[in-house]
Subunit: 224 residues, 2 copies
Amino acid sequence: MNSDTFCRKIGYVFNRPELLRQALTHRSHSLPHNERLEFLGDSVLNCAVSGLLFSRFPHLTEGNLSRVRANLVNQQALAEVAQGLELGKLVRFGGGELKSGGERRPSILADALEAVLGAIYLDGGFPMAEKVVTTLFAPLLQELDTGTLGKDPKTLLQEYLQSRRLALPQYAVIATTGEAHQQHFKVECVIPKPDIRTIGEGTSRRSAEQEAARQAYERLHPLD
Amino acid sequence: MNSDTFCRKIGYVFNRPELLRQALTHRSHSLPHNERLEFLGDSVLNCAVSGLLFSRFPHLTEGNLSRVRANLVNQQALAEVAQGLELGKLVRFGGGELKSGGERRPSILADALEAVLGAIYLDGGFPMAEKVVTTLFAPLLQELDTGTLGKDPKTLLQEYLQSRRLALPQYAVIATTGEAHQQHFKVECVIPKPDIRTIGEGTSRRSAEQEAARQAYERLHPLD
């Protein structure tokens, strides 16, 4: 594999190929090596993943968003993405590191992947780096979606109660304020057993229901 | 102060003012509050500051870049920036938090500032958020510049040796390879006392000298 093949895999072609070369240079090889780019890429990755999670999971609290992000952005996950790209074959090592199998070490692979993202950020700006992150992490995000995270609170609450053969929640609007074009709703969610009552607010009946359901679900089944 | 004044201060006008309102809503007040935006803004801020430091301090190692970033992006520094903007006056609190002086609490101010940056990121994209970060942190970056961080390695090394009345370093090109338009230089830096010899490489004589000086300076005066 050469760097052209790699660029095709990640869907980004460098205007300044020397940035990619630097990102793929381990400190054991020569200067300039990839450690400063890794510093940059680490925060680029973190920011891009935060943005993805924020928009993809509108019902998750900040605590759960942090937890999901930590599961996506860690050395092991990054090393696996890097392995999928065969990144280890492209990293340039000095003699000692080469003999000791540096190209298979997870920390080195994860660092090199971050450095590549830092290089894309410098070369093409944040939106391009974000696009590559979206491509690379799509399969991992897909796995998350198949779990509970992608579902809205009303669905989660209903499934939870059904699986335990408990009565389903009742939602009732208990207050509406504001004028027609900017109304504000208060909805109560009542679960008979276990006895739980929550109140959600929102600018639509639906959003107030979802908020009430979220509170009820979190009380039954704390994610935090 | 109203939010228009605030927008003028930070140099950004929202397309969707409801995002600013959410960023300025403490969880004690009502939903939607600012905690999810704070999650997002924290990583936007971190990324923007990393990019600023990366380009502003081309000679700093990644370890020192991390250290400088931690000095800029922490609760106290953020709270001071927020105080300078009188952000506390705009945050909406619930009754209890209001009475207990929430608008002066550093953690609440820092969180609200991060949430504002998250809101700008959603409203106008990363480059706009980065611009606001650059504006808000310019004075803090200026302070850093007046220290040793802004100086290049040759200057730092020379000042260090002079302050100890030691002989100045000698630089000598020991190898030049490559063709005229892409030459590669190896420069040796020799300090007689304490006996230090380092070799720097680069695509220009100047950059190779700076690299050799950086290594010598780090050996004399480890920042890491």
